[in-house]
């Protein structure tokens, strides 16, 4: 993900701002890291350049 995505995303649970922690970058893309809610503290992973902002109870890779 590019860092400007931070302007439009929020915590899916309480809609508060997220804080970005970068683990690795490729060019101008964040490839891995975490997004942490500044209010509730829930963390969301960024893997292979894609932020996973599903609520924790929906995070499994199995459908439905």
């Amino acid at each position: 993900m590019k860092e400007d995505l931070m302007d439009i995303v929020c915590c899916p649970l309480d809609k508060h701002d997220l804080e970005l922690d970068v683990e690795s970058r490729e060019d101008d893309e964040v490839m891995s890291g975490t997004l942490t809610c500044t209010e509730c503290g829930e963390t969301y992973p960024i893997e292979d350049g894609i932020p996973n902002l599903l609520p924790p109870d929906m995070r499994e890779d199995a459908p439905a």
Binding site: I8, C10, P12, I50, P55, P63
Partner: protein
């Protein structure tokens, strides 16, 4: 996961562009005037998001529940977020939100437990996904923003318009196309 498994997943687990996809993309290209920030909900293969970005120059982000879909859309060059409908996006963030929801009423005889089923099935009445979308989409729209939603006669166009109306939306069909078993419409919704 291996690359081969990834590719197989993309082929069998992600809805590929079809008539409904193209109708929504066409409507979006004619309705969206840049500079605009656009969200494509349920972006799937990323076709609508990429088409709108290429043809209008708008800033388009895609979201999907399905991990194979966000991967495929990202590989097409679409900035993506894995999200449940619009829940991970800020209030007032978008000038336009486009959505081709899973809209087929569930057929228990044909039902499968995979991502393709999630991409197609709109529950018992075909509206199980579009209704929660309509409950929340107003929150992420900018003051002059609008949503473009694909609906089928199989889903019940009047029912969708009525449900949206109860949530304060005005609606007009900006595109319509008839097929042997359904008529597809793209509804423009605004407050």
């Amino acid at each position: 996961m291996t690359d081969l498994a990834d590719r197989r997943g993309a082929e069998t687990q992600v809805y590929q562009p079809a008539e409904d996809t193209r109708l929504l993309a066409e409507a979006a290209v004619s309705e969206i005037e840049p500079p605009a920030r656009v969200l494509d909900v349920g972006t799937g293969s990323g076709y609508v998001a990429a088409t709108v970005a290429d043809e209008t120059g708008a800033d388009v982000v895609g979201s999907d529940l399905n991990p194979y879909a966000v991967r495929q859309a990202a590989d097409r060059g679409v900035p993506v977020v894995r999200s449940d409908l619009v829940s991970a996006f800020r209030d007032g963030a978008f000038d336009a939100v486009v959505f081709n929801p899973p809209y087929l009423p569930r057929d228990d005889d044909a039902a499968r437990e995979d991502w393709m089923e999630v991409a197609l099935s709109g529950g018992d009445d075909g509206r199980a996904v579009v209704e929660p979308f309509l409950d929340d989409v107003g929150r992420v729209l900018a003051p002059d923003g609008f949503a473009l939603v694909l609906v089928s006669t199989l889903t019940g166009v009047d029912e969708v318009i009525e449900y949206a109306g109860e949530r304060g939306f005005s609606a007009v069909a900006v595109r319509e196309e008839s097929f042997p078993f359904e008529t597809l419409s793209v509804l423009k919704l605004w407050k």
